[in-house]
């Protein structure tokens, strides 16, 4: 059965590491839903979060193939009940004098921020789980979504456990 899984990777910050990882997915026919990458407390290491869809056999293979890459130090699965997984989204919504306050009210209920106001639009910044973001989209959809951009999932394990080498 296909399911969405979130993987967290610790990698060496070497030349070409990102293309090695994305290339691996492409040539073995695995689909990436999202991929985020950023620095860590150690300047020589980066942290990557990848969300993928596949059945158990494919997920096991993905983890093993990632582990085979020399630059990849650790791969773990971020299990939803043991992790915090969030996404950052900017949404540009149509807004005029009659609708602006209603949209702001919805944004407040979702603890989203208004980051840009113009005569005919608003840009809203929202952070949350996939479900929260879907809910927000549903609410502002009637006003007209002009465009949006999503960062992709990023996440961390709960508790004192850390991803180390």
């Amino acid at each position: 059965m296909e399911k969405k899984t979130c993987l967290s990777l610790l990698v060496e910050n070497n030349f070409g590491v990102l293309s090695r990882i994305s290339g691996l997915f492409a040539r073995r026919g695995y689909n990436i839903d999202s991929l985020t990458v950023g620095t860590t407390e150690n300047a020589e290491l980066s942290r990557i979060t990848i969300t993928v869809t596949g059945d158990d056999q494919i997920l096991t293979q993905i983890k093993k193939q990632l582990n085979k890459l020399i630059d990849v130090i650790t791969v773990i699965e971020l299990k939803p009940d043991e992790s915090i997984i969030r996404e950052l989204v900017f949404i540009k919504v149509k807004a005029d004098d009659t609708t602006r306050s209603q949209i702001v009210e919805i944004a407040n209920m979702f603890r989203a921020n208004i980051v840009d106001v113009a005569r005919e639009s608003l840009v809203i910044e929202i952070t949350g789980t996939r479900y929260k973001i879907e809910g927000f989209f549903e609410m502002v959809e009637p006003y007209g979504i002009l465009e949006f951009v999503r960062s992709g999932d990023t996440g961390l394990q709960r508790g004192a456990k850390i991803l180390s080498h």
Binding site: E12, G16, Q57, N67, I70, I73
Partner: protein
């Protein structure tokens, strides 16, 4: 510390890895390195096309058990290496490929002879480096050799810009200890899984060992023999596993797969437990197997965890080196009376005999099956046969007997035509101080893919004997066309020109023979073997001889 030119440092680092030979082809981006070769003890062997350079390195590595090294300039030199690197990757052969690159400031500008070779080879290398600072050279070369030769072996590429080679470096050869955070290959199997495997083996009535290239690469032949003999378990090999088990042993049960022996597939299908040691179980190997639908249990021993569960479901996975795991298993009690199973196998062998006979007109010329059987009786106990790809490969795999210390190399995974001549030459360079019999087996198709390398063989007077099977056809594809579309449905498989190979050999000063009868082959073979230097025996086979 006196500054050292980076190009000299590169060769010093290779010296420290005990590199004797580098198989390469020069070019603009490698001028500094070639200047350094003049005063280096490392011997540079000039290949005749970069495409063959990784095959030389592969043959050298397989014969010597050490890392083979090849070298090519930037751009087309580097891209010419791609197929050879992929060939080594699919067969897990430890090689290091070094490429020249354009100056750092020119990278990304589509400069003359610029190609993104680390990008192009990413799918077929175990790892690769683009050297951006000459001070990293000692670490990178040490790591590259370590990665290529440990765990599951494979090719590693080092791309070195021209201006990096010209830097003066103050660093010495101080890099000793390899510590790569993300690379710690597992040697010994998980004790819990080993215990489960022992229990399964002890319970199994009809076990079979399926030995792959991992046994050969892991030098676990002796342990495999001891384990099979102790427990009375028959051994079947894959194409890459040829040489893992002596073929004259009563427990030997042939080669499995679409081009294997009929009886081997039957034996494998009858097993209740398959102990897979270092085999990938690719589609070619499993096409005639039904074991997957039955309730056959699988123990899969492999040094690469990603192989386990990739092509087949495994009951018991053991991640570890073949030699270490087999040594571990040998100490445990897995005995059971298997005389019934062995008797059943004898019957299977009787019912599926090897067929050597051919009818006219095929029988008018050389019978390749008989040829390889009779060759087995003449060659030395430690002879190496390097087969190409095609019918020549299958005939030699099935009918030439690998016994005692004999070796059989071929491009099993990628199936790269043109492998045999350069790989055998590489093997020959590995044995210069202790010359031994090395045979090239190829067809007229595969021969023509690498025949420029005859120049290297002749130049260095390598002791290799070429068994050239000619039928003016691309035999294996033709056989596939016959099987898939029927008689007469041949397309693009006719080499419509009967080359005078004798004149070609003459041009290179290679001793040559042409035979069209098995008796004549048997007469000239001992003479060719005795001859100091390269020989070529052209063996004419009828185009319609397509049975394996």
């Amino acid at each position: 510390m006196i500054p050292l030119l980076a190009s000299k440092l590169i060769l010093k680092c290779l010296e420290r890895e005990n590199v004797e030979f580098v198989f390469g082809y020069p070019g603009g981006a490698l001028l500094p390195l070639y200047e350094a070769f003049r005063t280096s003890p490392i011997k540079h062997i000039l290949v005749r096309n970069e495409q063959t350079a990784p095959h030389y390195a592969s043959g050298y590595a397989r014969e010597s058990g050490r890392v083979g090294v090849c070298l090519a300039t930037s751009g087309p030199g580097a891209t010419n290496l791609v197929t050879g690197i992929a060939t080594a990757y699919l067969d897990s052969i430890p090689i290091v490929a070094i490429t020249g690159q354009v100056d750092r400031a020119l990278i990304g500008t589509d400069a003359f002879q610029e190609a993104d070779i680390t990008g192009a080879t990413a799918p077929f290398t175990k790892h690769s480096y683009l050297v951006q600072d000459a001070a990293d050279i000692p670490r990178i070369i040490r790591e590259a050799f370590h990665i290529a030769s440990t765990g599951r072996p494979g090719p590693v590429l080092i791309d070195i810009p021209r201006d990096v080679q010209l830097e003066n470096v103050k660093t010495g050869l101080t890099y000793d200890k390899v510590d790569i955070l993300g690379y710690k290959p597992n040697q010994s199997g998980h004790s819990g899984q080993v215990k489960r495997a022992i229990k399964k083996i002890k319970e199994a009535d009809k076990p079979v060992i399926y030995a792959g290239g991992g046994v050969v690469l892991g030098h676990a032949e002796k342990e495999l023999l001891a384990f099979a003999e102790k427990n009375n378990i028959p051994v079947i090999t894959s194409l890459m596993g040829i040489g893992a088990f002596p073929e004259d042993h009563p427990l030997y049960c042939g080669i499995v797969g679409s081009h294997g022996y009929a009886y081997s597939n039957v034996v494998m299908n009858g097993a209740d437990l398959i102990i897979n040691i270092g085999a990938r179980m690719s589609n070619r190997a499993t096409s005639k197997l039904t074991s997957f639908e039955n309730n056959t249990e699988f123990v899969h021993i492999d040094i690469d965890p990603a192989e386990i569960g990739k092509n087949m479901e495994t009951s018991i996975p053991i991640v570890g080196d073949a030699k270490t795991v087999l040594t571990d298993l040998l100490q445990k009690d897995t005995l059971k009376d298997r005389s019934g199973w062995l008797a059943e196998i004898d019957k299977i062998k009787e019912l599926n005999p090897l067929v050597y006979d051919a009818d006219p007109p095929c029988s008018d010329l050389i019978n390749p099956k008989v040829l390889f059987r009779s060759m087995s009786e003449v060659t030395s106990d430690n002879a190496t046969v390097v087969a190409d790809v095609g019918l020549n490969q299958i005939w030699s795999a099935l009918y030439y007997h690998i016994i005692k210390d004999r070796k059989y190399f071929t491009s099993g995974g990628l199936g790269t035509m043109g492998y045999s001549i350069p790989a055998a030459a590489g093997a020959s360079f590995a044995t210069l101080d202790q010359p031994k019999q090395i045979f090239i087996v190829c067809g007229d198709g595969s021969f023509q893919m690498s025949m420029g390398e005859l120049g290297v063989i002749a130049e260095h007077q390598l002791n290799v004997n070429i068994i050239l099977i000619t039928n003016t056809k691309l035999g294996m594809v033709r056989q596939l066309q016959f099987d898939n579309y029927g008689k007469g449905h041949y397309s693009g498989t006719d080499i419509n020109f009967d080359i005078d190979f004798m004149k070609l050999a003459e041009a290179y000063g290679i001793k040559h023979y042409k035979v069209d009868k098995n008796d004549d082959f048997n007469k000239v073979l001992p003479e060719a073997i005795k001859h100091q230097g390269p020989t070529l025996i052209q063996c004419q086979v009828h185009p319609d001889f397509i049975r394996i």
